[in-house]
Amino acid sequence: MIRNDVAITPQLVKEHGLTPDEYKRFVDLIGRTPTITELGIVSAMWNEHCSYKSSRLHLRGLPTSAPWVIQGPGENAGVIDIGDGLACIFKMESHNHPSFIEPYQGATTGVGGILRDVFTMGARPIAALNFLRFGEPDHPKTGHLVSGVVAGIGGYGNSFGVPTVGGSVGFHPRYNGNILVNAMAVGLARTDEIFYAAATGIGNPIVYLGSKTGRDGIHGATMASAEFDDASDEKRPTVQVGDPFAEKLLLEACLELMKSGAVIAIQDMGAAGLTSSAVEMGAKGNLGIELDLDKVPCREEGMTAYEMMLSESQERMLMVLKPGMEAEAEAIFVKWGLDFAVIGRTTDTLRFVVKHQGALMADLPIKELGDQAPLYDRPHVPTPPRPVIAPDSVVAPISDAEALIRLVGSPDQCSKRWVWEQYDHLILGNTVQMPGGDAAVVRVENGPKGLALTTDVTPRYCEADPVAGGKQAVAEAWRNITAVGGTPLAITDNLNFGSPERPEVMGQFVGCLKGIAEACRALDFPVVSGNVSLYNETNGQGILPTPAIGGVGLLDDVTVHASIAFKREGDAVILIGNTEGWLGQSIYLAEICGREEGAPPPVDLAAERRNGDFVRQLIRSGQVDTVHDCADGGLALTLAEMAMAGGIGASITGEIDGLASHAFLFGEDQARYVLAVSQEAATDLLYEAAAIGVPAALLGVTGGASLILPGEQTISVSALKTAHESWLPDYMAGKA
């Protein structure tokens, strides 16, 4: 039992993750020594996770508006207009630290949190995606973490009833001590039925909804704002436990209540629980909030104000209700078997007042808790440029065919079927493009529209050149949406980095953001929501800089889309975009030559736009139904994936004079797509491309049971498939 009058010692301040300067700032702000409850509240509001104190300054540089943006960053999720009176509401968020400590629960609560962010705004979730990075496969913890995280994501999403339609899974030793679990949720609402967090009206009831409050997750957000060390396993009690069944009920009850017209404002209790949700509702609405904790439904007896304010128990919501509608609202929650309690009211004092058992536990200025949070311009140094590796300086150690077989079966490039078969990707009956393509495609309600969804970033590019890597991450998301025929509309970003207190890490952060901002501007692809996860670092070793991009695009007619599979024998195979054989930071250089070296491929945003717009128009006009974006592993991997997906081979004869075949096949030049079209259409297509200055070249023809690379190197599609499909199941069974 923590009494409210315990003495605030420097040690206690430190344990709450506040620096002496930050504590002094808080004391100056309130003009007295805080109570322990108040110290808890400020530690929750001013940690990195909630206050963005190291990142806020730099996030301001991101473009966040466009005519179709209804709500940019700052709310529970971003909102874009997709026409017909419908809005798409989406966000991606990390649950990295908890997932490393307890992979199943860490991942489930990550999924639960992001779903809540979306339905808090009035949207019914229609799709989930994720972005996962694990340590090297040989690391003793990796298999266990993969198994737990995947089961956790499935366990939550499957039960909740949202299809998990896409994602990315990769491995690298730099994630040995800090895995990444980023979850994205996408929902639909009517544009005139979107709900926000800002409270309005004085004296309105504040209602607590959902599951009861327990002692789980206390200080979770503070834990997520610190580096790990060898004793990190001891932080297991700070991980929350997810209950997808409760969340499903909460979703249905909230949407039903919203329809009734009783809801003025709503905020989910995520990181920092009741504290952060109550403060945000008041601060955004320029109102004070008074809470009576005696009314809070508790799971355990004897909970103190401190514990209730910092609990991160899951599946809870806070709402401001229209006065007089309490009974109607309560009936809906009782029907769904959920707790409903009026726990406070809005005031005109601009104070955040917390009472418990008749005593005043906290009385703080509400706006300052957010506005006056520390803001740091941390020192940052740019990442030194890496040398450009000339294509002819890389000698091929093995044949192209051998290299391709090895790449399709490598941990990063192999099929992730073992993962996505554990996710229900077919529920709701709207999944048009399943996992395994460029972007997932889901139909919007009964059509005709569809959404294209993807998560992307190439961390090794970001490590070598943060600005180029940031640009590439956005460009690749844009390209993946384009490759299915979608018009890219907006992104959510999940910025995963090491400790911001190291200038070189801060330099990566600043550089990546610069690249992201530049690409978003050039491609009309604004950032509407996001999340920053710093301190992904263990014993001084940070992760690769990993700004994951979640992209959303629109298909006006979802029946007109492209997929990667070769569909017919005898189609012409065409490459769009320029090829220079860029091997620096390529998969080929890393996997086949064992060198993670050089500068990453440059990103020409004008070329991206020109080439992409050309490809999209070909899909939309019905001229092309087979497209794959050319990314990791270059042309060879792209062709192999198209052949495997369709069960049809291809004979590739096109080459570039003076370029070694392995540079031609495995170079990772950007802004490229591979298309397959009928021979008749190919002639027109090449002519059209030439007319508007889009580089396009005939590579060969589809057909047969083998992929034949230049120089008569033949690999059977079945051999490719065997290599592609076997690594991950074998690894998880302890055989690889």
């Binding site: 366990g155 009833g161 069944f245 409760a246 009920l249 229900d424 529920i427 009956g429 139909r443």
Partner: protein
């Protein structure tokens, strides 16, 4: 035809089956689990997929004892049609309407994938639109779909022609590889003695349109609609 789709707390494929039934030409009404009677004139009761009560006890155990289930049992006893899909199949087993139980999948993981089923007989209200022995392409998504029953029950099910569907490959061959959840006798669905109650793990309701993978699932819903029309 009038169908009633029962919604339990945690049901999550009720919208999918509602769409399939409407498309096949049935009127459909959702019925909350706390009701004690079915809408009058109900021809078909559907227990949809999902995780009723979170599957926190045994799958379907709590829903099998919901108040609406008495009405469902009466409907079945009168010879009314009942279809339980996935969690609905689990609920039928827990409520005593069908024998056996669904255990955890053989690999102890949730699995979601496309799956062929062999139609064992096409003379029931559920399968008229299929050919006997036809391999139909549907979707499967469950963690506990491993059909298990004692030897006597299995003998009875087989002897009375009550196996509705078996997991098979694209050619209709029942192979070990095709039976990924490890069900006894590769059983994917079974009938009640009077053939008016069907429980099945796979989801025909998710394969009703070319755009989202195929139309093999339609036959089941169209069979039901035409059976009821003929009986009327």
């Amino acid at each position: 035809m009038k169908s009633a789709v029962i919604v339990f707390p945690g049901s999550n494929r009720e919208g999918d089956v509602l769409r399939a039934l409407s498309q096949a030409g049935s009127q459909v009404e959702k019925v909350w689990h706390a009701e004690t009677a079915l809408p009058s004139g109900t021809d078909l009761v559907v227990l949809p997929g999902g995780f009723s009560y979170g599957d926190y006890l045994r799958c379907g155990a709590i829903a099998g004892r919901a108040s609406v289930m008495d009405a469902v049992r009466e409907h079945a006893a009168r010879g009314g049609l009942v279809l339980g899909i996935c969690n609905g199949f689990q609920i039928l087993c827990e409520s005593g309407l069908l024998p056996g139980i669904l255990m955890r999948n053989a690999n102890l993981k949730f699995i979601c994938h496309r799956q062929f089923l062999r139609v064992e007989r096409n003379d029931t209200a559920f399968t008229k639109r299929y050919a006997q022995g036809q391999a139909i392409d549907v979707c499967l998504a469950h963690g506990e779909g491993n059909y298990t029953a004692d030897a006597e029950t299995l003998r009875r099910l087989e002897g009375d022609g009550r196996v509705a569907f078996r997991y098979c490959d694209a050619t209709g061959a029942v192979t070990a590889d095709a039976n990924r959840n490890g069900s006894m006798n590769a059983i994917a669905g079974i009938y009640s003695e009077k053939l008016n109650v069907l429980g099945m793990m796979p989801h025909p309701e998710n394969l009703i349109e070319t755009l989202v993978g195929g139309t093999d699932g339609r036959g089941l819903f169209e069979s039901l609609v035409s059976s009821v029309a003929r009986a009327a």
